[in-house]
């Protein structure tokens, strides 16, 4: 190390912004590192280990070769999205004004938050929730307010939602199909949320990245289709999950013109442009025929069914069958004395399989009067398994778990 570099760590840590100090780094990423070190089979991070569709990869290769490599905004993406949104949801949007292209849904969401949330604004999140939402809201100076969904079916109790809305509530975040539970919000629940937004004059920001991954003939319904909602909803989504290209970073936000414009302004400040060759490839992706989406659904459904059978077979409690996304939120058996974190550590070390302890998805409100340790015990009993993996991977998991079964055929990790 260069001896000139005297690092005064504590003083320098004081240089972090207040917002950054409140944030902690991603627990999902840390587990991935442990799993990598142990060479564990990764059922934690939500990305496929099978190849992306060839027609889309070819489009990207072609774009790079055709010199689509300088700053660009590919308006064609907006046209295709307008068409898809009309076909899927019956919504009319103006591709010239209502769409902001972004670097993945992550950036669309961050830009949406920065475009609409002022310091002190309250933002409602449904718990359990993907860890990034809260971090983003906090960074913008907003106050996250968590409304718990009720286990075991993760249903929304309207009174809990309505109780949480105050005059400072600016937006409600809705992720459906839902990570980590795989829930697809029902029409009634969506009506409740829509009603609350309209009557209390809030925005809705939706994360619909799993919109094309639904099961048992369930259809994903966008919150924006409810009366009075289109003018107050920001829809965010991306190519990543639908087209198995989580590493390409092309996403979008769809919103009324004034808000889309504000989102675009933030996007220009933060990254300026999504990767050019992948924007070009997005045109091909978004033109995929209906058969592509049917196959996607069918294949993920069979992976879901395999995984449920496997995990239920070794003793996990699965009271809620995922209706969308590629996650299964499985409960530890009642007689398992371990917490979710302890269990996953053993799973990595003994079985060579990694999943995500559910507690990272649960949050408590700082100023909540309702926190009671007993009623929140369930928050340490869930493990999230991602089944967006090849058949070979899932079979390998079955084999590994198979070696650790007790006489009753249940997983014994002690």
């Amino acid at each position: 190390m260069n001896s000139d570099r005297v690092i005064r760590k504590e003083e320098m840590e004081g240089k972090l912004s207040r917002a950054a100090k409140k944030l902690t780094s991603s627990p999902i990423q840390e587990l991935s590192h442990l799993a990598q070190r142990c060479n564990a089979i990764n059922l934690a991070e939500g990305f496929p280990d099978f190849p992306a569709p060839i027609h889309i990869k070819n489009a990207a290769v072609s774009a790079i070769n055709s010199d689509f490599n300088q700053y660009r905004h590919v308006q064609g993406i907006c046209q295709h999205l307008a068409k898809m949104v009309k076909e899927m949801h019956g919504l009319d949007i103006d591709p010239l004004t209502d769409v902001a292209i972004s670097c993945g849904q992550t950036e669309a969401f961050a830009a949406s938050i920065f475009a609409t949330i002022d310091p002190g604004d309250e933002v409602i999140l449904f718990d359990p929730s993907y860890e990034t939402y809260q971090g983003c809201v906090t960074m913008a100076g907003g106050v996250p307010i968590h409304v718990p969904l009720d286990p075991p079916l993760w249903s929304l109790d309207p009174s809990k939602l309505l109780r949480s809305i105050t005059e400072r509530t600016k937006a409600i975040i809705l992720n459906s199909p839902h990570n980590p539970t795989g829930k697809v919000f029902t029409k009634d629940e969506l009506e409740t949320i829509a009603g609350a937004c309209c009557s209390r004059n809030c925005l809705a920001i939706t994360d619909e990245v799993y919109e094309h991954i639904t099961y048992d003939n369930q259809k994903h319904i966008s919150l924006a289709t409810f009366p009075g909602m289109q003018e107050r909803t920001i829809i965010t989504s991306s190519l990543s999950k639908t087209f198995s290209v989580t590493g390409w970073r092309v996403g979008w936000a769809i919103a009324p013109a004034s808000i889309a414009s504000a989102i675009r302004n933030i996007h220009i400040i933060v990254t300026d442009s999504a990767p050019a060759p992948f924007q070009e490839a997005a045109l091909t992706a978004l033109r995929s025929p209906p058969e592509y989406f049917e196959t996607l659904r069918r294949e993920y459904q069979s992976k879901r069914d395999y995984t449920i059978k496997l995990l239920a077979g070794v003793g996990f409690k699965i009271q809620f069958i995922p209706q969308g996304s590629f996650f299964l939120f499985a409960e530890l058996p009642d007689d398992c004395p371990l917490s979710d974190v302890e269990f996953v550590k053993k799973l990595i070390l003994k079985a060579g399989v990694v999943a995500v302890p559910g507690q990272g998805f649960f949050h408590t409100n700082l100023s909540s009067d309702e926190v009671s340790n007993a009623s929140c015990n369930y928050q340490k009993r869930y493990i999230r398994f991602a089944f967006c993996k090849s058949e070979a991977t899932l079979s390998a998991v079955s084999e590994k778990l198979g070696k650790l079964l007790d006489t009753e055929g249940r997983l014994a990790l002690h």
């Binding site: 010239l96 414009s261 302004n265 050019a276």
Partner: protein
């Protein structure tokens, strides 16, 4: 004659500009070719039917004033006051206050004008030639090899190593690829993550004008208290006394761009030493944007992080785009000691999560390019610079020396126009060449009104053609 008509219920409207042409002005900014900043409105009431009749005084961005009737839209805050078709003022005040200071980018305006008039663009800093094959091949191979999923959030491990290797070669500093290097979506995102991760609302940050317009926007978004110090022609030297009187223990950070856009200045060792000692004395952080470091022609590029006592307080940012003519790939990075890296990585995680995997793989090949690549690159750009500078001089511009980047600033006053924006619009429309008015790079536009920025990141034929057009038609 001036007239405003409402075009659609969602507040788009057309206005006649002062040269009798239609401009699409979008009430909320973004992709407008020109826009209206409504400064004063008279009393109005929602009409029972028909058009809203209301007189407002409106300024065009370049300072022209017209009187118009029609919609009342507060452009700068996106606050809709009234629009036909809405039954309530639903959309008022939805946009966050942090956008209040945001000005729409001049680049969009000028680009659209250039396209409209088929002008040769020497405006935006975007090459009209492509990146090297070996880099593109590496990215293509990565796509075929299946590197299409989320990479590690702070960078593909190989790329972090390649960045550290390159940094050692360039500065002599040894950095830890895993704890001191973060890959970002272009240098733009490196700046955003650094500012959001390390700057609090109200923190004082020093900026040198003229500045790349995203610095101001990002710092405003973070609520920083910005102090601007102007670099003046002819040599754009750092005004040391002014800097000394502005920097204090209250200063959180100073942002430096070297080689410098738009002046082409390269901060000298003396200047950097002075800045360094002031920063150490007052405990100030330094954020440096060094994207043009490979385009340092007449003198050596120096990274301030390599000066004694500076690494521990500096975030050094760079990207692939300019060195490898791949501006649309958006692969950049920030090098900083662990305690600063931690803050910018957190912000990066929440605003972007990770940068495109296959393109990072392409970047690995790029950063390991042999020295000959960079020698050729410099040679090429020096030749282009000569064509442009000699050409501009022969047309009658006063050209300021540019030691680096692919930009050159020129004084347009010999041609008798009142300011840079008027000149650039005239140049685009009547002469068929697009340049960027430099007043947008200053807090006080007056400081830049004599200067326009030309880019020479174009093939030689294009530059020559632009000079020809100006020689033919641009008269003093």
């Amino acid at each position: 004659m001036r007239r405003v008509e409402q075009h659609k219920w969602d507040c788009k409207f057309f206005m006649f500009g002062n040269w009798n042409e239609w401009y699409l002005a979008q009430g909320y900014g973004g992709n407008a070719t020109s826009f209206v900043q409504v400064r004063q409105q008279r009393q109005w009431q929602p009409p029972q039917r028909g058009w809203l009749k209301c007189n407002v005084d409106a300024d065009f961005h370049n300072g022209e004033t017209i009187t118009s009737r029609g919609l009342c839209i507060r452009y700068d805050t996106g606050q809709l006051i009234y629009a036909r078709g809405f039954s309530s003022l639903l959309l008022c005040n939805l946009v966050a206050k942090r956008l209040e200071k945001f000005r729409p980018t001049i680049f969009t305006q000028m680009s659209m004008l250039a396209i409209k008039h088929e002008a040769i663009s020497l405006g935006q800093g975007c090459p009209n030639f492509d990146g090297p094959e070996f880099v593109k091949e590496a990215a293509i191979q990565a796509i075929r090899d299946g590197k299409n999923q989320y990479p590690r959030g702070y960078g593909v491990p190989d790329l972090n190593v390649a960045i550290a290797e390159r940094f050692k070669k360039d500065t002599g500093l040894i950095v830890d690829p895993d704890n001191e290097v973060t890959v970002t979506t272009g240098c733009t995102e490196a700046i955003a993550a650094t500012v959001l991760g390390l700057i609090n609302p109200g923190d004082e940050v020093i900026l040198f004008a003229p500045f790349y317009d995203s610095y101001n926007a990002t710092l405003s978004m973070a609520g920083a208290n910005i102090k601007s110090i102007t670099l003046c022609p002819p040599d754009f030297a750092v005004p040391i006394e002014e800097l000394k009187s502005n920097i204090s223990k209250n200063t959180r950070a100073i942002l430096i761009n070297t080689p410098h856009n738009p002046t082409g200045k390269i901060f000298t060792r003396e200047e950097l030493n002075t800045i360094a000692s002031l920063c150490i004395e007052n405990d100030v952080l330094v954020f440096t944007d060094e994207v043009y470091d490979k385009l340092a022609f007449d003198m050596e590029h120096i990274s301030i992080a390599s000066l004694p006592g500076m690494f521990e307080r500096t975030v050094t940012m760079n990207s692939l785009g300019k060195s490898f003519s791949l501006t649309g790939w958006k692969v950049g990075w920030a090098i900083a000691p662990p305690h600063l890296t931690w803050g910018l990585r957190l912000a990066h995680t929440f605003i972007n999560f990770s940068t495109a995997n296959p393109l990072q793989c392409g970047a690995v090949a790029a950063l390991r390019a042999p020295d000959s690549y960079f020698v050729e690159l410099k040679k090429d750009y020096i030749a282009k610079r000569a064509i442009l500078v000699e050409g501009l001089k022969s047309v009658g511009f006063k050209v300021f020396p540019s030691n680096g980047t692919f930009f050159v600033l020129a004084d347009h006053t010999p041609f008798g126009m009142e300011n840079d924006v008027v000149f650039c619009k005239y140049l685009t429309k009547e002469i068929g060449v697009a340049a960027i008015p430099s007043s947008v790079f200053y807090f006080n536009p007056e400081e830049g009104k004599n200067l326009v920025r030309f880019a020479f990141c174009k093939d030689e034929e294009t530059i020559k053609a632009a000079i020809e057009r100006m020689k033919k038609k641009l008269k003093k």
